[in-house]
Symmetry: C2
Subunit: 434 residues, 2 copies
């Protein structure tokens, strides 16, 4: 018996838009944690975010229709947090802590709407800017990236017949499961999904999260995606990102305040959160400079998330720093999240095992590894290096130096000034693949 459900079919055909982002919780958890800090301490600050496509060879505006992009961004702007979502944020424990979010903050969040955007096409690329209060523009980072990445994936799949899609996903599933089987051999692995922004698509990310959960059991500790965490009863994972030191550095008056700004961020953070959330991100202006100037109390924090140095060298540098301050690294935590994949996870895990607790945030190579999966060939589904970064705060230019000069952002003159203040020690160019 061939059974056609005419109602569903008619409904499906009537779609005006297949929305990519369908909830404001379809974002990274750290955005909410940072938002609460920004809302508490920097409510008056303006911040502009901009899309940066590091993979210049992919001319996004030639691939993605501008009208479709606007329709998706406009749809995201119609979203509000639902009652169920607000109740969950209020009632759920995060990192073992109840009432992570202040009732006043949640009351404010209830009416939150993504602010306006400014979109232009220049030389085959999208110039996409979000200008306005930091409390609002910050929330565009993840949906903007996941929308553009999924629109690109959809463009890469447009015109493929059902069969080619079937092979494509069979290969991608086989690929991922082969990775899971390798990771399964690491008994003390601690891993989470950090793949929201660069995902192939929402449904694919959900499948990947289910796969890793199924394959790794308790070793998979959760996902950075708040919506998936809520819907799948997983832990929401994340702490903070470069935008905090970048904005505070941009607002600093003079070189001395600039040099102190990374620690001011940590001080604000510890006044807002504690426990497992005390993870420092050391590389915004170079890890060596950060460690050299760090106050003693930073050594009491739970750990670090080295995010642009090579994982083993970057981790060793932090271990040395802890030891020099009399701290036992075995009680500390390193979170690795910079373009990790099975090989680098295995190597980093083996290198540090027994010497320091490690945790891995697996991003693009978890949720968007379609390399060589397309039966029609080509690279239209290979991931690109797309970021959405703060570029100015209250009209002052923002800078990120990073441990990897290939990941630096900001105006050349300002970068020069930052290098003068923070130094250039131990920074080395690594190719940025994802």
């Amino acid at each position: 018996m061939v059974y056609t459900d005419i109602a569903t079919r008619t409904y499906d055909h009537g779609w005006r838009l297949d929305p990519i982002v369908r909830s404001l919780l379809d974002t990274d958890f750290y955005k909410l944690l940072m938002l609460q800090l920004i809302w508490r301490l920097h409510r008056g600050t303006h911040a502009t975010f901009a899309l940066i496509n590091r993979t210049r060879s992919v001319r996004l505006a030639d691939v993605i229709d501008e009208g479709e992009l606007r329709a998706q961004l406009d749809h995201a702007r119609t979203l509000r947090l639902g009652k169920k979502e607000l109740i969950w944020l209020a009632g759920n424990s995060f990192y073992g802590k109840a009432r992570m979010f202040d009732p006043d903050f949640l009351a404010w969040l209830k009416d939150f709407q993504l602010p306006e955007y400014d979109l232009r096409v220049v030389d085959g690329q999208f110039e996409l800017h979000f200008a306005g209060p930091w409390t609002h523009t910050t929330m565009w980072e993840i949906p903007a990236l996941s929308i553009i990445n999924e629109l690109r994936a959809r463009a890469g799949m447009a015109g493929k017949d059902r069969f080619a899609l079937d092979i494509l996903y069979a290969r991608a599933k086989t690929r991922l499961w082969d990775k899971v089987e390798r990771l399964r051999r690491l008994p003390d692995l601690v891993l989470s999904d950090f793949g929201t922004r660069r995902r192939h698509g929402f449904l694919w990310q959900r499948w990947c999260v289910e796969a890793v959960k199924e394959g790794l059991g308790d070793r998979f500790i959760g996902t950075s995606n708040v919506l998936l965490a809520m819907d799948s009863d997983l832990e929401a994972i994340g702490t903070n990102a470069h935008e905090l030191p970048m904005v505070l550095a941009a607002l600093a008056e003079g070189d001395a305040a600039l040099a102190a700004s990374p620690y001011r961020v940590l001080d604000e953070w510890r006044r807002t959160y504690d426990g497992n959330l005390l993870i420092a991100l050391p590389d915004a202006f170079g890890t060596t400079a950060f460690l050299r100037g760090a106050p003693e109390w930073v050594a009491d924090w739970t750990g670090f998330r080295p995010d642009s140095a090579p994982p083993i060298a970057g981790g060793e540098q932090i271990l040395d720093w802890w030891c020099a301050r009399g701290r036992d690294p075995r009680e500390k935590l390193l979170i690795f999240s910079d373009g990790m994949d099975v090989e680098s996870i295995e190597a980093t895990y083996a290198h540090f095992r027994g010497r320091v607790r490690t945790s891995f945030g697996w991003g693009t190579n978890l949720t968007n590894d379609f390399r060589d999966c397309d039966p029609d060939g080509g690279a239209s589904l290979a991931p690109i290096s797309l970021v959405c970064k703060v570029v100015s705060a209250d009209g002052r230019p923002a800078v990120k130096l990073s441990d990897n000069p290939a990941k630096a952002t900001g105006e050349p003159k300002e970068i020069e000034r930052y290098l003068r203040v923070f130094g250039n020690a131990d920074r080395g160019v690594q190719p940025v693949l994802v």
Copy 2:
């Protein structure tokens, strides 16, 4: 919006049985061609078929529930040819020939029903016999095999969650498509699906056929499965099988008639069919004996289907035979169908290219290659070597010698007699994997 189609779901849950064989056309085309010959020339002959599991290590009756097997066999006995099916058999051209089937034969076929079966469990194996008129028992071969193979696959998958099944099929699809991409590099390949009897399941065979059609285009010439040929507008492929010489040999009175029986089959066949259907199966009692004794007119036939000798050696033997009789092999056809897979297809294709036309019947390794695909490990989905062979005709024992003694069937004393009549030249044991 989560949409649940309650009616479909309720219907699905109400199934008493998920039938494996749902049409009498879900069989190999050669069964119909042979059936017409049997119906015309041997209507009074009785023939008994029996299931033979060559993979003794797999105790089928421990894996498959006897009640489930009976339910599937009983269901197959309820099937009759539908009006659409009979009209298609009458109106379709096969091998470019219209009216392949006689109207009287089709009128008889209209009321065809699979006959009774005799099922017992002995020492962990099913003893399954079909006794009765040859015109009826012959039609059990394919449904009996595909039912048992699919029940075994279902047993191997029982208890697996949705996720493990997802990985299983992703891997099997990836595997098959990798094979298709290799075969695609052979520009003059001619290939067809011979995988009905050993398939993992009907839906999987259909997917495999679609995949090969998609990947190989015109180089995929069709399928042996009549139902799939009808539903997918493919050519139905097939000629004849060992049961014809086996029955005629069993019925032969004395050694001289026995020695002549393989050619009597060909004579009956050419009186019934012509053109592309003039393909001889030389190995029932050894290819060397067959070629040595063959009348001159056999060299005028379109070609041979060597089915148990190693493909290159077996093909060379036939080429020599054609050349010795002044025939140009480039006008002849060799069909290879014995446990072929990508490696052996590539090697055989390369060896004979330009010297003789070749065609490949791809069976078990097309429709049932799940080796190492099970995320839970184990071999419960690896194919086994299961056949359903004629064992007696009008109460006299039937024998198959084959070019490969591992594939011989029959009582030892009769095999001895056949070896005396046909000789044992050039027969050599090859492992029988599928």
